[in-house]
């Protein structure tokens, strides 16, 4: 059970007897910089009109950023794979939920009375 940690420990250069991976400073700074650049990129990308592609680009960049955070800031790269499975499973279930709800609401949309909201104040 402890094998993976002793390996991880051995991998960490500045390691001082701890059981978990210590992320090198260089990596942390690089990730931070990348996140900032990607943020600028998202804001810039929206300025270009690409129709519905804009949404997908924004989501792709966000996912890239999120992966960086998860992999390095949250140590998932060095962690037990099962923790990653747990997290990814959660994401999959969110996607499942969102996509079926979207699929269905899209399909019944024509039956709705457009703009119906009688309870809103004038």
């Amino acid at each position: 059970m402890s094998d993976s940690y002793s390996e991880a420990a051995a991998a960490g250069p500045e390691h001082g007897g701890s059981v978990s991976h210590v992320v090198p400073m260089k990596v942390l700074i690089a990730v931070w910089a990348a996140l900032l650049v990607l943020t600028i990129l998202t804001v810039a990308a929206i300025k270009v009109d690409l129709g519905s592609l804009n949404l997908w680009i924004a989501m792709a960049i966000a996912t890239l950023k999120a992966s960086l955070v998860v992999l390095y800031f949250m140590h998932m790269r060095y962690d037990r794979p099962f923790n990653a499975i747990v997290f990814v499973t959660a994401l999959l279930f969110v996607m499942l939920f969102v996509s079926i709800a979207m699929l269905d609401s899209k399909a019944y949309e024509p039956e709705l009375v457009p703009g119906y909201a009688p309870g809103m104040p004038k």
Binding site: M1, S2, Y5, E14, G16, G17, S18, V19, S20, V22, V23, M25, L28, I29, V31, W32, L35, L36, T39, T42, I46, D49, L50, G51, N54, A58, M59, I61, A62, A66, V69, V70, Y72, F73, M74, R80, F82, N83, V86, F87, T89, A90, F93, V94, F97, V98, A101, M102, S105, K106, E109, P114, G115, Y116, A117, P118, G119, M120, P121, K122
Partner: protein, 267 residues
């Protein structure tokens, strides 16, 4: 190798500190997964309304201040960075740096909330609020939303001659029936306020509000960590709490990474 150090923190039902640390981590990851699913509900509401009513989102997102949103994004990313750094310091036993970094992280959180408060206040002033409270001032170009119509379907509906259907004539129908078709609606969005703009603001406040609550919870946890760090409880032999608090804080950041483009950057 330093089993004696661990022992003070080793609960009686674990055999080894590693087992305990791993259990804590797994537990935290499971908890984070539940957080993702919690937000998942709101993302679902967002996705459903956005895909069915893009015009509302295109129209209403302009009332959000992209600049402030972007600044907040940078702040949160920065706090994530200092947090990750803090964990590193705890692992390496750099006591002072740990305290400073935790402090900076908390300050970033305060900054984030401060800016959020400014944004909320603007919305409040302009009546750009959720659901029933939505009452946009006309100078912002937002018309009052759908008028109130009681007695929705008058019992005496007449046959609609155009489509040979009993679905009532627009004039008699619930308010909004007369609205143009789906495709046309998106076109119009640029010019005038579409129906049900309040939906956007409901979602905006729900998502940012729930996220804000998580930021506050994170600040409480981090303050506690700061206190314990000042007392010198953490070191290479024992830093699990900092590590777990860090994981939580990163998830708060993670969610904002998605909220920012979804709410502020709509095309």
């Amino acid at each position: 190798m330093s089993a004696e150090h661990h022992d003070a923190h080793l609960a009686h039902h674990f055999d080894t500190p590693i087992q305990q640390l791993e259990s804590g981590k797994l537990g935290m990851w499971i908890f984070l997964s539940t957080e993702i699913l919690l937000f998942g509900g709101l993302f679902c509401a967002y996705a459903v309304y956005r895909s069915n009513h893009p015009e509302i989102f295109v129209y209403a997102h302009r009332f959000l201040d992209t600049r402030l949103g972007a600044i907040n994004t940078v702040i949160l990313i920065g706090s994530s960075f200092t947090m990750a750094w803090a964990v590193r310091c705890a692992q390496l036993g750099k006591q002072k740096a740990l305290v400073v970094l935790l402090g900076v992280t908390i300050l970033c959180a305060c900054g984030f909330l401060g800016i959020k408060a400014v944004e909320y206040e603007h919305k409040w002033k302009d009546g750009l609020l959720w659901g029933k409270r939505y009452k946009a001032k006309t100078e912002h170009g937002a018309h009052a939303p759908a008028a109130k119509a009681k007695g929705l379907l008058p019992p005496t509906a007449k046959v609609n001659p155009e489509v040979k259907s009993l679905i009532p004539l627009p004039a008699e129908a619930p308010h909004g029936l007369a609205a143009p078709g789906h495709a046309a609606r998106a076109e119009h969005a640029a010019m005038e306020a579409p129906k049900n703009v309040q939906t956007f603001f409901s979602i905006y406040f729900l998502m940012t509000g729930l996220h804000g609550i998580h930021v506050i919870a994170g600040m409480v946890v981090l303050s506690w960590m700061l206190l314990r760090a000042i007392r010198g409880e953490f070191g290479p032999a024992y830093y699990t709490p900092v590590d777990l608090a860090g994981l939580y804080w990163h998830v708060v950041d993670l969610i904002w990474i998605y909220l920012f483009p979804l709410l502020y950057l709509i095309h």
